[in-house]
């Protein structure tokens, strides 16, 4: 009798606990995707944010951050490197930079399909006492597999590329890649589930691909229909937030 009474008393609580209907989870805003604003030089050529390196096996890379850097990381599809205490102090602080040599791992990193991510973390304060935040960059290296020239119409600039091209702009904007001959693009339906899909867009004519800049990144490969077929790779990065670096 007592057991029955207990069961009757606690049953509603058990039901509520199991269904979870009484628990309201706080809605989380998606993490902001910041513009890539690390810059520097690669093999003596200036780079900024999202850039292309040559197909050489070894590269001298200089990173210049707009903020002081406490920890610098390099992450590829193959390796993770960490450099601590890279902060430069002194009266003038001419560079908040770091230099290193990167030898691409043959067959993995030098295929032109392995973006290298540069991360400069900072726990410093700006002159207003606010955290300066961290800075990021992406490098992608050319490969002889990608030789098809294109016109990269990206973020108000119009530049030529050979094989590999990149574009960084605000998420949601319309960008184009134009070729001098008829091309085809990889079909998203043929990319296995679980893998990132190619950049979402359409051909506005046989030679011009137009896509909407994603939030985050996407890559799309093209091939010329005329034999001998040549390939091109386009890598795009869309941001929805920019670090204010004005008062550092």
């Amino acid at each position: 009798m007592f057991r029955k009474w207990l069961r009757a008393l606690f049953a509603p609580f058990l039901f509520a606990a199991c269904t979870g209907s009484g628990i309201a989870l706080p809605s989380q805003a998606p993490a902001p995707i910041y513009a890539l604003d690390l810059s520097g030089q690669i093999d003596g050529v200036a780079w900024d944010g999202l850039s292309i390196g040559s197909s050489a096996p070894t590269h001298d890379i200089t990173i210049v951050s707009k903020t002081d850097v406490n920890e610098f990381r390099v992450i590829s599809c193959h390796r993770f490197l960490k450099f601590e205490d890279v902060i430069q102090t002194g009266w003038f602080r001419p560079n908040r930079g770091y230099e290193f040599t990167l030898s691409l791992a043959p067959g993995i990193e030098d295929t032109g399909q392995c973006p290298i991510r540069l991360q400069a973390y900072s726990k410093q304060l700006d002159k207003d006492g606010n955290p300066v935040g961290s800075a990021f960059g992406i490098l992608i290296f050319k490969n002889s597999h990608y030789t098809l020239p294109a016109e990269n119409i990206c973020n108000g600039a119009d530049g030529g590329s050979t094989g590999t091209s990149v574009c960084q702009s605000m998420a949601g904007l319309v960008e184009r890649v134009k070729f001098s001959e008829q091309v085809i693009a990889a079909n998203p339906a043929n990319i296995p589930d679980g893998m990132p899909k190619p950049c979402q867009g359409k051909f506005i004519d046989a030679e011009t691909f137009e896509y909407v800049m994603p939030t985050g990144e996407c890559a799309i490969e093209f091939a010329s229909t005329k034999a001998p077929h040549r390939f091109a790779l386009h890598f795009a990065y869309g941001f929805n937030k920019i670090f204010y670096r004005g008062s550092e």
Binding site: I75, P115, Y121, S134, A186, P192, K197, P198, A223
Partner: protein, 111 residues
């Protein structure tokens, strides 16, 4: 605790100087100001460390994203090669059909 010590110091100091309340008052105000500044700086520094940790967390999966990019590009490469093979085959068939059309019709010859 701090105010007790400060009251004791003020009382002791007033025995040797008539300006003790003024001097300790100014010193106390200054100390309070700088202590407050120090606490604010410490809090800001902690915020910066928290921001850095959040940045690290947000980019913890960057390696996996690079691997995903590579897999996707490789899959796209394979897909393009298949599409191109089909295009080439079609082109070869069209070419063969064209060549056949261009061949002159055989004339029937009478013995």
């Amino acid at each position: 605790m701090f105010s007790t010590i400060w009251t004791f110091i003020t009382a002791a100091f007033s025995m040797v100087s008539p300006y003790a309340p003024l001097i300790t008052g100014v010193a106390g105000t200054l100390f309070g100001y700088f202590w407050n500044q120090y606490q604010q700086h410490k809090q800001r520094q902690q915020n910066a460390i928290t921001t850095m940790a959040q940045d690290e967390d947000a980019h913890a999966s960057d390696g996996a994203i690079s691997v995903g990019d590579r897999q996707s590009i490789q899959a796209q490469d394979a897909d393009l090669n298949q599409q191109l093979a089909a295009i080439d085959q079609q082109a070869a068939q069209n070419q063969a059909a064209q060549a056949k059309l261009r061949q002159p019709a055989l004339k029937e010859t009478k013995p």
